[in-house]
Symmetry: D2
Subunit: 253 residues, 4 copies
């Protein structure tokens, strides 16, 4: 079982326009700093926090206790003008785990329900272990600096990466009958979340993408603790860069 | 003429893996805080900073002097482990302005050139005025909380918004012969950058999108100062929400 | 005339214990980040923000318009759970300027008045110039790393610097019939605020302090814009360090 | 035994003037955010971080493992332009514990030794328990808002609180033959660190201070985890405020 946590800003849309629309700069900087705060806090418990859409976040939270979740939630809610709610659930499939977590959150109230504040819900016995390794695939476009960043306008590069993200997201939405989540993490970097896959599985994905015109490499790492899985994936990717810098998979277990 | 500034983190990719891959949490929190810093700094000069891909940013910088750019650059470079370069250019078309700015940056060196550090380049006479109004269109999906956020899993909502972004980006890439830039700003919110368009122009865009299955409203604002243009767009959008909350345009000049 | 601004967190004491005492870590990190935000924002207008007691701040705000103050205030109040009030006043003597500013704030309500929120008050005609240079003296203890930091326990160094601060504060409270404000800015560094003094004046102060057993150097800078005055003081101090590193004054005008 | 950690910014003085003096606003905001980062990080492990002089910090780190220290250190050093060194030691007396920790740090190199970077030293067997409760006394001046904040100028209040800090620091430097550390935490608030004292001990301190003209109350809490000890102290103080708001001690064990 892999544990996932959905963190959602409470009643955030209404806050941005109450009592009148706030300065966009205030909204943009608030949500960026809120994410940074969560990233740093969960990192203290060896967990990786990914950004859905600036107002909702996914934590790969295996090994983080309920009490530790409460500590982060209290620290966040104490500090900021907007509070968070959290829902925690587990499944061997991370995509299914976040479905369960989202359902728990929905059962607690709407994202824009002014009375659903500072909720913390979970659907397992607190204290029970959850120790299946999560696999993180770190995808990166080969030679993007040479082929795009240093050649095209900033917006055209941006648009190209959006196309690559869309292609990769669509591929993973239907790959081998399993839906796999994909997240953008900056630059030309993406992460996928799986359990129990092989190097060949990842090679298959990037081979398919190459046929569609997107030239990816992928480093894969796995660990019960998602920050360590990510670290292994980063080291695997760096190994490919240093060796061939080509359409390849390295998997560090 | 509208002034745009490209801000790029210097030699950022190499930094993330030197001397060995940094913790992903450090990278993610750094780049979010770096963006927040730039947003807040340019806001002091009434300008809006948009996020390309976490390592490159677009500022709608009309009215911000070269000296003020240097102040922000010095403040940033003084503070952070990674420095920034900036390129400033102008055109009546914001998309073309950022092409010129990117070319200036390319001429100064590669994004991964370890000797291209703390560059500030521009292609006009310092001190000259630039006072054409920029138009900001603030697009938002109608009833997303009811139709998606409170119904589907967090990842499925994320994927849906990515589809909406792709559809809108593609529409604006070829709309009426002009390429128009589109940025995601969190939640289900996007901004487009134009000059000299009418309400009908924007209504045409969202009508087309509705046929493709994406139900948008759009508030438009214009001003020489981009933060004020954004503020008008936000107020226009809020007006639609309060009136009909439907597939409509309001333009506050 | 030198312009000063008092920035005060609104109803801050009560907030820290409502609805129950917040985690001390939340309070400590909030107030540090609030100060950093103000420092960065006023720096965009070439002004220096000093820290009274974490909940009240002094800005040497000559040259910062009322509109610019409002921009900072709006940006702050939009973002944080606690808002700020500001009072601006002018006098040729910075100490007297802050007395006037504080009185304006008192007239608007108590620091713990829940209805005194987001106030901005000033006692001069908006738009009028204020262009007397402020002098910033940057005091630093000679050889503190060798004599204390690397020898004594961290707390004993801390206590020694508190003694030095007290001695310097007391000296400036009664020096030559004028009261001069002194601020601690980290490490073994202090700044004093004056107008119209000479190098001899500052030499007199550190000579007196040397007799009391505290061995200071001081760099002095002056400018209408306080951040530039500070910068000159820093360069002056660095010049002393590089030349003799002794009980001396350098004044960069 | 109480565990304490000294965290020191590495070679910080030289950094502030290399290659030339940095903008003071950059220095002030950096050091405030660095402290906030450490406060938030150690809070995730239930520990309280106190600020010596902006460049050196004391953590009451009982219960924080060596691996957790490394996690915080890596996260900090990854993120910021300046790195930190840490030294950890234990003693039943917190003052003596920080003396031992400082000595470890001195043995590793000078605060301004460019080769003493990212050090982590400790003088006990990793993995061994340290479970004596630390006592935190939270001192606060009675009625300061009425008697000073709302009456006197901001600087005069500042100076008054400095006097109160000096009086309290001196009292605790020689109280009953033990040296007790005192820290300022903002507003009119101070914390003392002890083990094994009684309510009478604290009442004796504030009675003595009252004779010197400073009217304090003090809430005391104790716990192995310093953040919880602080929380109890805060609740004790709030209880005094709600009951009599007078020169009194409440101790929550």
């Amino acid at each position: 079982m892999v544990q996932t946590t959905i963190v959602q800003l409470d009643n955030y849309g209404p806050w941005t326009v109450t009592p009148k629309p706030r300065l966009e700069s205030s909204i943009l900087s608030f949500q960026s700093e809120a994410y940074a705060f969560l990233v740093n806090a969960f990192a203290m418990y060896d967990s990786l926090t990914l950004n859905f859409r600036q107002d909702t976040f996914l934590v790969l939270s295996s090994g983080v206790s309920i009490a530790q979740h409460r500590r982060i939630q209290t620290a966040f809610n104490d500090r900021y003008a907007v509070s968070t709610s959290m829902a925690i659930s587990r499944d061997s499939n991370p995509y299914l785990a976040q479905i369960k977590a989202t359902k728990l959150l929905h059962a607690a109230g709407s994202a824009q329900d002014p009375s659903r504040l500072e909720t913390l819900v979970f659907d397992f016995k607190a204290g029970t272990a959850d120790n299946e390794a999560v696999q993180i695939g770190h995808f990166d476009l080969n030679n993007i600096t040479q082929t795009h960043t240093d050649k095209e306008s900033a917006y055209d590069v941006h648009q190209y990466i959006l196309q690559a993200q869309t292609a990769l997201t669509n591929k993973l939405a239907y790959y081998n009958g399993t839906k796999i989540m994909l997240f953008f993490i900056g630059g030309d970097n993406f992460v996928s979340l799986t359990t129990g896959k092989t190097s060949d599985f990842f090679q298959g994905i990037i081979d398919d993408l190459l046929e569609e015109g997107f030239d990816f490499k992928v480093g894969v790492g796995n660990s019960t603790h998602s920050l360590f899985a990510m670290d292994k994936a980063n080291r695997a990717l760096e190994k490919i860069r240093n060796e061939s810098d080509s359409n390849k998979v390295i998997f560090i277990r």
